[in-house]
Symmetry: C3
Amino acid sequence: MSSIISVRTRGHSVTEITPQVENEVAKSGMDKGLVHLFIQHTSASLTIQENADPDVTHDLISWLDQTVPESGPYRHTAEGPDDMPAHIKSMITNTSLIIPFANGQLLTGTWQGIFVLEHRRADHQRRIVVTLMNEA
Amino acid sequence: MSSIISVRTRGHSVTEITPQVENEVAKSGMDKGLVHLFIQHTSASLTIQENADPDVTHDLISWLDQTVPESGPYRHTAEGPDDMPAHIKSMITNTSLIIPFANGQLLTGTWQGIFVLEHRRADHQRRIVVTLMNEA
Amino acid sequence: MSSIISVRTRGHSVTEITPQVENEVAKSGMDKGLVHLFIQHTSASLTIQENADPDVTHDLISWLDQTVPESGPYRHTAEGPDDMPAHIKSMITNTSLIIPFANGQLLTGTWQGIFVLEHRRADHQRRIVVTLMNEA
């Protein structure tokens, strides 16, 4: 079973999508397996991180900004100074994630949430392909 | 088929878990497929790396320390100076891994081992969900 | 179904393998599912990135060189100054990728291509295990 989650991101920020992923698992009626997420973009990405303290995602973004500066220098600059850093930030985080579930519930740890990282300055509509796999 | 591997890590170090993963595949009796590992934490992570020379994992950790310094500055500091760097190091390595197997053997390359990276200074008990999938 | 793609890489460069992956999906005759790629090496890796402008992959490589310098210092130097940086670059990119497909076509976004990143200076023959999984 596969479907698309469409996420409205805020520029240069994170959006938690744990509830949407839980909902995809619940509506499948499947008991045990893996859920795969694939973001169809190269300037936004996915990560699993602590969702208890919002300072954590703030600090993740600050570190990415510091480590992948807009100053470059880069050759690929036609789409703006935030574009090439967005590709690099996507490369070192994740284009796809896989999470196990059982009894229709994600087997994430107590503090783990699923996030879309929007690396561009502008808000975007981002598409994530969700695929469910039965356990063997 | 899914199960939990519980790993006692040493602080700020790596622990190879290749034998435990091989054992999960062997005891399943499955011939061909994929084994998925998912660590239920955001301050420890997974990687596949050379397991022949222990200097390799030493240098991996040194580079992570240098690139993700404890000095930050970070907002999320309540759990100690090693906590926020641990989240960032987890983000740029892996929360999950998938490895193919055939004839009940992992299809890893000659030098590839599976490691838990403990990013906190203290030893921890870390939980990894193992899920096996049959090949199509 | 699983098979091996063998890729001749150019040293310190990227090689796009999207057509080879599309071909594996097409020849399987499968309609919907996931394709898993696993590179059997720890000094070359995989990424999904923009394939429209070749400056993007040029800038990805430049950033990796700057962020993971050959000067180290490293302990693991026996295989040359480009070896330990190659392991680190592999760790922060991907040893494996999973991509969904439907109607026999990859569900990648408009600009997404699949690349092998060769982190060593010399050309290499690299092996990638391809496994296809049916959707639930």
